[in-house]
């Protein structure tokens, strides 16, 4: 029995007159890493942003189709977007910590949900930093500005910030594209540790990264889902010739 956390069927997305996603149907498994690959402009980031309704912020964006999270359509009427986003966290392409202290960055989410208890907040900050493998590096300077951290540390802080909400899913939009190889390696190790507790959906431009860290891989092309399967199968015996051409570097 496969444990699906997201069930997506016939998802279409339009920016004005441009159709960015066409009839996407796929399932995302819980406590697995799902990689979304494909050339620039293929719709993988748009797809990712559908999962926590961040596309709502783009003014002329229209979505149709079903995105079921725990069997409930998140695009249904009266669906609580705020509570969805507390359960489906997001890490962005560029590290974007708030211009506050390290502590405040992580405490921000829980505080917005109305948590005021100091001890509880301290516990959450420590737990999140430990889970994101940042605790040892910053435990003595939690009051320092988050902007004083290095790029890789900032990105792990952003992951910690998402973990602080105790989500079920973490969406990552090319989280290592702005980082050097060593910082990238640390994030990849972190993702590997995190998948014990969280479902992770990651958009990546690096085929090697997808092959290294993901359990399932979806290949997008021109707004369509070309192939979706276990990563080992995609990278060894893809069923679609386009997939094979892309992963062997013949285009994209």
């Amino acid at each position: 029995m496969v444990n699906n956390i997201f069930t997506i069927s016939n998802l279409n997305l339009e920016y004005g007159s441009f159709q960015a996603l066409k009839q996407i149907s796929l399932n995302i498994e819980n406590k697995k890493v799902t990689a979304l690959i494909g050339p620039s402009g293929c719709g993988k980031t748009s797809f990712l942003r559908c999962l926590n309704r961040m596309n709502d912020l783009i003014s002329d964006c229209k979505v149709s189709g079903d995105v079921l999270y725990h069997e409930e359509n998140i695009y249904g009427k009266n669906y609580n977007v705020i509570s969805l986003r507390t359960k489906v966290g997001m890490v962005f392409q560029k590290p974007n910590p708030f211009p506050m202290s390290i502590y405040e960055n992580i405490a921000y989410g829980p505080k917005c949900q109305g948590l005021k208890n100091k001890n509880e907040l301290n516990r959450i900050v420590e737990m999140s930093l430990k889970k994101s493998a940042l605790w040892e590096e910053v435990k003595d300077r939690l009051k320092n500005s988050a902007l004083s951290l290095s790029g890789g540390q900032q990105q792990r802080l952003c992951i910690a910030r998402a973990i602080a909400m105790e989500p079920e899913v973490i969406l990552m939009d090319e989280p290592t594209s702005a980082l050097d190889p060593i910082a990238t390696l640390k994030i990849e190790q972190l993702i590997n540790d995190l998948k014990e507790n969280y479902a992770i959906v990651i958009v990546t431009h690096s085929m090697q990264q997808a092959a290294r860290i993901s359990d399932n891989t979806a290949f997008f092309l021109m707004g369509e889902l070309v192939e979706y399967d276990e990563t080992d199968i995609i990278f060894s015996t893809p069923s679609n010739s386009k997939t094979e051409e892309y992963i062997t570097g013949r285009f994209g």
Partner: protein, 401 residues
């Protein structure tokens, strides 16, 4: 080869024009500063800032004297200090802030019989005393001509030294100080900011963060831009027509007052604060907004907890600009706050700010350019200090962020 030389010449000319243009600005600024300092630096001292503008006149009388002073002329007094041994009093010639000749008390011995003078106008006055720095305008005697200050300190002291009694000494405090106008200015800054800052910042938040970009907000923006261009004297008229009656009705005020002036200035400042706050909100990266929303924060939380704090240095700068405008504004305030230079300041009473004080000094006959320039120096110093303060604040804020 010739092409390249021609091009070099052309570049040189163009660059020279840009240098010259920027030099014009520096030149004009230096001219202003040189002019102000040349005229005003002579009068600048701490007393100017702490003294009253209106001199207090006193008539000092004295009872029959039994013991005269035994103090001899102290060595620290100079040739120009004329000293009376008998009275223990030294007078010197000086020029007051209006440029007129005066006689000033430069020394008063501890055993001077003048310490026993009483206030002829108010016998109950216990604080009455002749002090160093007081201006002596005349000494009147029972049986001979009065000694007037127009004849100088030497004649006055000689006339006094030859007598063992006098009918009265007319003296006054220095006057011409700007304490009242300074306090009014500070009050005005405070109240104007109280009215204008919250309103302006909230309007800017509404326009940039909450409002949809539609015809309605475009009209609001256009109107705000138009307000920026309205001459301040028109705002002054509005203050006179709206805020002065309003404050008379709801406060103890009976005419133009600090409150009506502050409200008028607040209206002048609103478009400036709104526009510059909007600019500083626009440069807050969208990544902060996305990150906050993705964490399950709602729009209001995102705006007030992330966006507004990030825009704070910009808002501080806007505040500084606003304060500069409050200090410098005169046209609107002539109507909205009045031109009466006062020493006793009440927020419901007439008084005047430093800028309007300059205006009234220059409309006096003859115009007092020296004092006006001195006040200008003080205004420049206040603006400079505020400037540095805001820079330090935003630096400290950015370091902590």
């Amino acid at each position: 080869m010739s092409m390249s030389n021609k091009r070099k010449r052309k570049d040189f000319v163009l660059q020279a024009i840009t240098y010259a243009a920027s030099l014009i600005g520096v030149f004009i600024l230096s001219l202003i500063i040189i002019f102000i300092f040349k005229n005003g630096v002579g009068l600048i001292n701490w007393d100017l800032v702490t003294n009253d503008y209106h001199a207090q006149y006193y008539n000092g009388g004295i009872n029959e004297i039994e013991i005269f002073s035994k103090t001899v002329k102290p060595s620290e007094l100079s040739e120009s200090d004329f000293y009376s041994n008998k009275w223990g009093l030294a007078l010197t010639d000086d020029i007051n802030r209006e440029g007129r000749a005066i006689v000033v008390v430069s020394y008063l011995a501890n055993d001077s019989p003048l310490h026993d003078m009483y206030d002829k106008n108010d016998l109950e006055n216990n604080t009455f005393a002749l002090e160093i720095g007081n201006i002596v305008s005349s000494i009147k005697f029972e049986n001979k001509e009065s000694a007037l200050s127009v004849y100088g300190a030497e004649k006055m002291i000689n006339a006094l030294e030859n007598e063992t009694e006098f009918r009265e000494i007319v003296f006054s405090s220095l006057g011409g100080g700007i304490r009242g106008s300074l306090i009014t200015t500070l009050y005005t800054i405070f109240f104007t900011l109280i009215f204008a800052l919250p309103t302006g910042v909230c309007s800017a938040l509404y326009l940039t963060e909450f409002a949809k970009n539609n015809q309605f907000t475009r009209i609001i923006r256009g109107m705000i831009d138009m307000l920026t261009g309205v001459p301040s004297i028109i705002f002054g008229l509005m203050g006179l027509a709206v805020f002065v009656p309003l404050t008379i009705r709801y406060t103890p005020a009976s005419g133009a007052n600090i409150l009506s002036g502050s409200l008028t200035l607040a209206v002048i400042l609103l478009p400036i604060i709104i526009r510059s706050t909007e600019e500083s909100l626009k440069i807050v990266p969208d990544e902060y907004r996305f990150a906050s929303l993705a964490l399950g924060a709602n729009k209001t939380q995102t705006t007030f907890r992330v966006v507004l704090p990030s825009a704070l240095p910009g808002i501080l700068t806007a505040t500084l600009l606003a304060i500069g405008r409050v200090i410098g504004e005169s046209a609107a305030l002539i109507f909205a706050i009045g031109t009466a230079v006062k020493d006793e300041i009440s927020i419901f009473g007439k008084s005047t700010t430093l800028a309007v004080h300059i205006w009234s000094l220059m409309t006096d006959e003859p115009a007092n350019i020296e004092l006006a320039s001195t006040i200008s120096i003080i205004i420049l110093i206040i603006v400079l200090v505020l400037n540095l303060l805001v820079k330090l604040l935003s630096k400290a804020y950015l370091r902590n962020a």
